[in-house]
């Protein structure tokens, strides 16, 4: 138990410092942009409608979507798209409070200021701003709490944040990680909020000593929070040899850890960008923002190559490899040796009572059934191909988190799910896989992809990764997944299980 916690706490300084840097940068820039905009809106009243409407509209875009949209818009992943989305998010409360705060200043004071001979700028600076100060600060505090909270969603676009705890923790059922992430984000929001409040009080009282103390405290808190970044910036010159990417499910976290282990043993310096959105990972690799990640041939075949035919496992693998190198310069460093396919699964008892063993057999029962799928599935070409090739019509399609699907079908809340063939929970919940006799779903061989130019930039990379070629069979992968998803083990422990097996086999060889 305590080991699980210690493991998470060891990650805290790194994640926290990234999260703090994102939040503070976004707030500083957001406030810097909002203030002049708010002043312009006060000076030119016709600007008020458009400015506030745009800011409100941005606010209505769900945080995750806004962050994810920045990736294609900017053509890159990581800090920049995340910080820009957060800047946009921070602006509404600052804008709105500055405008209303200044507009609410009593007419008498404006009249007095004008009557004494103040210019509009002097009036703003000496009368309106100081009198609106508490309202403006309240807006800044709201923005701070929002930004710190929403910054946890930076993880899927490749910016490390406290969200790394939450995303990977939810996927791998590591609730210690989720708790650490949430508590740290809440504590950070609270501390920043209190610091701003302290600065406000000191300024309002014009208490020099108190202000000095508050500034000192703020600087100390920021320095402490950002320390891991400050120290590493002073020590190394940025990017490590190899940046590994992972998507947002257990198997990916385990493989990411495994790749890091393998490369570090071979003497490479690595860094991992966890929990990337599915297409974010591919785009990031093509753009050389990450160097290595694991994808599946069927995913590339159906989603990026837009193919819906199924010429067989070997053909697809070789065509995918050729397409990757031709179109993107991406190399396949290894075929890991197992498939993680989309399969349709239902409870064994349910399948047997209906006498269903194949997807063909399911078609007649489908109109009275509920089907559960992960966030992506019903939007993917695989689903289009599956439903059209078999003529599948379900009573209802339910989208849910992939970690919840297995329990949902076992509990009878849905009748059929789109399971992943390597998931340990298929066996644990005693689910039956329905055969895809018409080959509507492509094969999903796990392949280790390497970014364009990475092999020439990092000599020896391909050879090191080659150690993983055909090294993991489906049983090994499934038991590693099961270790995390069902037995509550850690990702690193699961990766060690695979490494141990590899070493055992290597020793066993003649």
């Amino acid at each position: 138990m305590s080991e699980v916690w210690l493991e998470q706490f060891a990650l805290l300084p790194g994640y926290l410092s990234r999260h703090l840097l994102l939040s503070v940068t976004a707030l500083a820039v957001g406030i810097g942009l909002s203030m002049p905009l708010a002043f312009a809106a006060i000076r030119h009243r016709w600007l008020q409608g458009p400015i506030l409407t745009i800011a409100s509209t941005i606010q209505t875009v769900p945080g995750l979507a806004l962050l994810a949209l920045m990736v294609p818009l900017l053509g890159q992943i990581g800090f920049v798209p995340a910080v820009i989305a957060l800047i946009l998010y921070s602006m509404l409360p600052v804008l709105r409070n500055t405008v209303t705060g200044i507009e609410q200043v009593d007419r008498d004071f404006i009249e007095a200021g004008r009557g004494l001979g103040m210019t509009p700028n002097q009036l703003l600076l000496r009368v309106q701003l100081p009198l609106a100060f508490p309202v403006i600060v309240a807006g800044i505090r709201t923005a701070t709490v929002w930004v710190v909270g929403i910054a946890t969603l930076s993880t899927p676009v490749g910016a490390t944040s406290l969200g790394n705890f939450i995303f990977s923790g939810l996927q791998t059922q590591n609730y210690a990680a989720v708790l650490v992430g949430c508590a740290a984000a809440a504590a950070l929001a609270l501390i920043l909020d209190r610091l701003i409040r302290l600065l406000e009080i000191a300024l309002a009282r014009r208490d020099r000593a108190m202000l000095g103390g508050a500034v000192l405290l703020t600087v100390a808190a920021l320095t402490a929070g950002l320390w891991p970044i400050l120290r590493s910036a002073a020590l190394v010159d940025g990017r490590p040899d190899v940046v590994i990417g992972t998507k947002t499910f257990t198997e990916q976290y385990i493989l990411g850890e495994l790749i890091a282990d393998v490369l570090e043993v071979a003497g490479f310096d690595t860094n991992t960008r966890d929990s990337l959105g599915s297409t974010v990972a591919f785009d990031a690799l093509a753009a050389e923002r990450i160097d290595v990640y694991v994808d599946y041939t069927g995913t590339i075949w159906a989603n990026y190559m837009q193919r819906d035919d199924n010429p067989g496992r070997e053909t697809i693998r070789s065509e995918v490899a050729r397409w990757l190198i031709d179109e993107h310069g991406i190399e396949v460093a290894a075929t890991l040796g197992f498939e993680n396919a989309y399969v349709l699964a239902m409870t064994r008892a349910g399948a047997e009572s209906l006498g269903v063993g194949t997807i063909d057999g399911l078609v007649a029962h489908a109109p009275s059934m509920k089907m559960g799928g992960d966030y992506e599935f019903f939007g993917r070409p695989e689903w289009a191909s599956l439903s059209s090739r078999y003529g599948l019509q379900f009573d209802e399609l339910v989208t849910m988190d992939s970690t919840l699907m297995y329990a949902a079908v076992a509990a009878g809340e849905v009748d059929v799910i789109t399971a992943f063939s390597t998931d340990g929970r298929i066996h644990a919940f005693d689910l039956a896989i329905l055969d895809d006799t018409r080959g509507a779903l492509p094969p999903y061989d796990a392949v280790l992809l390497v970014a364009p130019n990475a092999s020439s930039r990092v000599p020896g990379l391909l050879r090191a990764l080659g150690a993983l070629d055909n090294a993991i069979d489906v049983d090994l992968m499934r038991s590693a997944n099961r270790h995390v998803d069902l037995d509550g083990g850690s990702v690193s422990r699961a990766a060690e299980m695979i490494t141990a097996q590899l070493m055992f086999e290597a020793e066993g060889r003649p």
Partner: protein
């Protein structure tokens, strides 16, 4: 010779979307060193007249001269810094101390810090507010009368010789009001200030003014000394207006005399 400090000539103001003028064709002059009261009910246009003098409201037509100079030729910001301005509710800035409030205009004019500080002390002394205990106070820590004194000090800070006052004593209790009216009169005489004061209070007008301008519905119905307005009203409205203080005075005299006979 007496020179006219402020002259209004056919001054008219139409507010946007109004069919009748707020102020119609007003001409009057205020001699240097005198205190003129503009008297009228709310809506009579008296405050508009005052605000046109420092261009807080721009006139629609006519001409206003300050010390012989057409005010439209003066930059409005510079004009306002030359003219003291005090009004009801005072408008002291709540985020500034007494000293900072008084210092506003001198600082806008770029006076050196030493001169500003001396001027603050001098004005607080004049207003009977010991600088040592009042400089650092905030407006919320002052009584209504003290606030009004600081308001006047602020209006005079840049050594303006012209002071515009909009209902300055309206919000005060009768005793404080009486005190401040007396002080204002003394101050005006000793400093030779030219003052235009707007009020709806007939008694206040009669007690303070060298001359009273009576306004109704944007028109000037009389501009004369209190004595002449009281005894030879130029217009029935002025007569009605003056009837009230006369009645009050008669009643007071009656009370005083009956008391006197009662004792003797």
């Amino acid at each position: 010779m007496v020179c006219d400090m402020i002259e209004l000539e056919g001054v008219t103001k139409y507010y946007a979307n109004a069919s009748t003028p707020a102020v119609a064709e007003i001409s009057l002059s205020v001699e240097s060193g005198s205190l003129h009261v503009v008297l009228g009910e709310s809506g009579s246009g008296k405050t508009t007249v005052l605000k046109m003098i420092n261009r807080l409201v721009e006139m629609s037509s006519g001409r206003i001269r300050l010390d012989g100079e057409d005010i439209r030729a003066i930059d409005p910001i510079a004009l306002r810094r030359r003219i003291g301005y005090a009004f009801q509710g005072v408008g002291l800035f709540p985020h500034m101390t007494v000293a900072e409030n008084i210092a506003v205009v001198p600082r806008l004019l770029g006076w050196p810090g030493r001169a500003v500080s001396d001027r603050i002390d001098e004005l607080l002394e004049t207003m009977g507010l010991p600088p040592a205990s009042f400089r650092g106070r905030y407006p919320r820590e002052l009584s209504g009368g003290q606030r009004q004194r600081v308001g006047v000090a602020r209006a005079l800070a840049a050594r303006s010789h012209v002071l515009l006052m909009d209902e300055p004593f309206g919000a005060l209790d009768p005793i404080t009001r009486d005190e401040l009216q007396e002080e204002l009169k003394k101050l005006q005489r000793s400093l030779g200030l030219t003052v235009v004061l707007v009020t709806h209070d007939v008694n206040e007008a009669l007690l303070l003014a060298d001359r009273i301008a009576v306004m109704k519905d944007g028109r000037l119905l009389g501009h004369d000394t209190p004595d002449r307005l009281l005894n030879a009203p130029p217009h029935p409205y002025v007569e009605t207006l003056m009837a009230m203080p006369k009645r009050q005075a008669a009643k007071l005299a009656e009370l005083a005399s009956s008391r006197a006979t009662g004792v003797s």
